[in-house]
C-alpha cells in the first residue's frame, strides 16, 4: 500500500483557537471560542521507519511558555492526540510535529485543547477519507487528558466547532453548537500566575447543596435559552456562578476587584475562564469588550500585577487549516 492511497498530502498546518471553559454557568458543559488567540500545529508525514510501528515526534515547540511543555509525544497533548488517532484508525505513518504556542500555559484558556484539536484537524486534512466531527473530538479529548488528568470536553468542543458549544455527555460523546446573539464578545485578562487544572479541580467540594443546584442549573438553562432566543435580560440575569467561582477565586489575584471593574452597560457578567487564572467578561459586542478590558487591566496596572489581556469576538468557526495541502509527494 502506498501512503498516497491513504493520505492526500504529506504536510498540513492548522490553527486551534483559545477557548473559555465552563463559561460561568456551565461547569464541564459550556465552552466558548476566542478569535485571534490560539496554537498552530504543523505536521509532516513520512513512511514508517519501522514497518507497522507508527511514530510521532515533537520536533519543536515555540512561543508562549513553550520551554515548559513536554516534547515526549505521549505526554504532549498534540502528540497524544495523534498517537491515539493513528492507533484508532490503524494508520501506518510517521509524523513530525512542530507546535507554535500562542496560548499561555496554565491560563484557563484551553491551550492543551487547542494544540490537540489543531493536531487532529491538520491530520484530518491529510486523510483521503476524513473523519467525523465526533471522532476528531474523541482523539483530541484523549490528547487533552494527558495535561488535565481527566476527560472534559468543554474546551476541545468549542475549539473544533467554534462559537459557543455545549457538552451534554462525554461517554458517549454528545455535543451541540449553541446559537447566540450576533456580535457577543469577550474581554479576557490573565494575571501572571499559572494554575494547574488538576489542582484547581482537586480543591472543589465533592458535594453541592440541593438549593444551590436548583439555582445554578436554572441559570445554565436560562443562559442557553437566552442565547438561542436572543433574550438579553435572561442572559444577563443568568450569567452568575455561586458554585465554582467562590471555590476557586482565591487562587486569582484581585479577582473581586477585576470582576467589579468589568461591570458596565452591555456587560453580561464576568467570571473565571476554565480553571483560571484568566478572568473573562461576556459583552454584547467587541467595542463593549474593549471598554471592559480597559477597566479590568487598570486593576492589575494599579497593583503592579503583570497581566496579559485580549478583547475577542466569539467566531463562528473553530480550528481551521492554515494552508492548502498539496498533492502527496512521497
Amino acid at each position: 500500500m502506498n501512503l498516497s492511497d491513504v493520505f492526500r498530502a504529506d504536510h498540513a498546518s492548522a490553527f486551534g483557537p483559545a477557548t473559555i471553559g465552563n463559561m460561568t454557568v456551565g461547569f464541564d458543559v459550556l465552552g466558548g471560542t476566542l478569535s485571534g488567540l490560539g496554537d498552530t500545529v504543523h505536521l509532516s508525514l513520512t513512511p514508517c521507519k519501522t514497518l507497522g510501528q507508527s511514530n510521532v515526534s515533537i520536533e519543536s515547540i515555540q512561543g508562549t511558555d513553550s520551554e515548559q511543555l513536554p516534547l515526549a509525544a505521549t505526554e504532549n497533548t498534540a502528540g497524544k492526540a495523534l498517537l491515539t488517532l493513528l492507533k484508532g484508525e490503524s494508520l501506518n505513518v510517521d509524523i513530525a510535529v512542530r507546535i507554535e504556542k500562542g496560548i499561555p500555559l496554565g491560563s484557563g484558556l484551553g491551550g492543551s485543547a487547542a494544540s490537540a484539536v489543531a493536531a487532529v484537524v491538520a491530520m484530518n486534512a491529510l486523510l483521503q477519507r476524513p473523519l467525523t466531527q465526533n471522532m476528531l473530538l474523541k482523539y483530541a479529548l484523549e490528547g487533552e487528558a494527558v495535561a488535565s488528568g481527566a476527560k472534559h470536553a468543554d474546551n476541545v468542543t468549542p475549539c473544533l466547532l467554534g462559537g459557543i458549544a455545549g457538552v451534554f455527555s462525554v461517554e458517549p460523546l454528545s455535543v451541540r453548537s449553541i446559537p447566540f446573539p450576533a456580535g457577543m464578545s469577550v474581554a479576557v485578562v490573565k494575571p501572571q500566575v499559572g494554575i494547574k487544572t488538576e489542582a484547581a479541580r482537586a480543591l472543589l467540594s465533592k458535594q453541592v447543596t440541593t438549593s444551590l443546584m436548583v439555582k445554578q442549573q436554572a441559570r445554565l438553562a436560562g443562559f442557553i435559552l437566552g442565547c438561542v432566543t436572543h433574550d438579553i435580560p435572561l442572559i444577563q440575569d443568568s450569567f452568575q456562578d455561586d458554585w465554582i467561582e467562590p471555590q476557586r477565586k482565591n487562587l486569582i489575584p484581585h479577582f473581586d476587584a477585576v470582576k467589579e471593574a468589568a461591570a458596565g452597560e452591555g456587560v453580561y457578567g464576568a467570571s473565571i475562564s476554565g480553571a483560571g487564572p484568566a478572568i473573562f467578561a461576556l459583552c454584547k459586542d467587541l467595542a463593549t469588550a474593549e471598554n471592559a478590558l480597559h477597566r479590568m487591566r487598570k486593576v492589575y496596572e494599579a497593583t503592579a500585577t503583570g497581566a496579559l489581556a485580549w478583547a475577542c469576538e466569539i467566531p463562528a468557526e473553530g480550528a481551521y487549516i492554515l494552508q492548502e495541502t498539496e498533492g502527496y509527494s512521497a
Copy 2:
C-alpha cells in the same frame, strides 16, 4: 367610589389546567401544561359588608377529593391567592368562591396551583385595569404555598402561561415560555395513593455530588436546547433523572414497571410528575401517548392497583376565562 370604577363585572369563571412539575430534568425549574384536566373557579363579587375589610369566602368545593380540601379561605389555595391579591392591590370587595376540582388531591399534577391560578385569572378578568403576568404569578404562588409549604413556581407558571415553562428565579420572579416541537404530548397515570408535596420534599437529600450535578444540569440544558431547536435525539438523550427520581420512586407502587412499560418508539422518557405519585411519559404526539398510556395502565390492571389515566396534549394556552363577563350590575 363605586365598585364599577374598579370592576368590569361582578362574576367570572376560569379554568386552570393540570401541570407536570419538575418535568424529569427541571426540579423546581420546568413545568408543562396538560390539556383537558383541570380545576374551575367561579367568583362573585359583592360590596364589602364591613367597609375596608375585604372578605373571601369559599362557598363550595365540588369534584375530585373535594371533601378533603379546606373551606377556610386562608388555608385554601384559591382563597389565599385572592386574599393576597386583594391586599396587594388595595381592593375593597367581598368575593364568594365556588371551586370545581378536576385534579385529584396529592397527585403531583398541580391541583393546588390550578385552583390558585384559576382564581387570580378569573379575578383579573373582573378588573378594569388588568394585572401583569408577573403579578398574577406572584399572587397565585402565595396561594399555592399554603398547600405545599414553600414557594415553587414550576406548576403555577405553566398553569398560567401554557406550554412548557421555565422558572429561572423565584425571588425576583423570572419565568419564560419554552418553545417545543409541535404535537408533543403526555401520558399520565396516577395510582390511588396520595403524596403530600411537603413529605416528598422532606425525604430529599440536602446534598448532591458534584458529578451528579454536572450530569443533571447538562440534561436540563440539553432538554431545553433540544426543545427550542427541535433536536429530537437531544431531547430523548437528555430526558432522564438520576437525582430526584431515585429518591422518590419508592413512594409510588410499581414505579419501575410502569416506567419500563412506557418505553417505546417516539417516547422520550418517563418519570414522576411533581412530587408524585403520578407518572408521566413524554411522547412525540398524542397517538404515541395513547399507546404508551395503554401499556402503563396494564401494569396497574395486572396488579389490581387502582389508577386514573389521561393522554394529554401540551396546549399552548394556560388558564382561561370560561364565560364572557358581563357589565357590572351591582
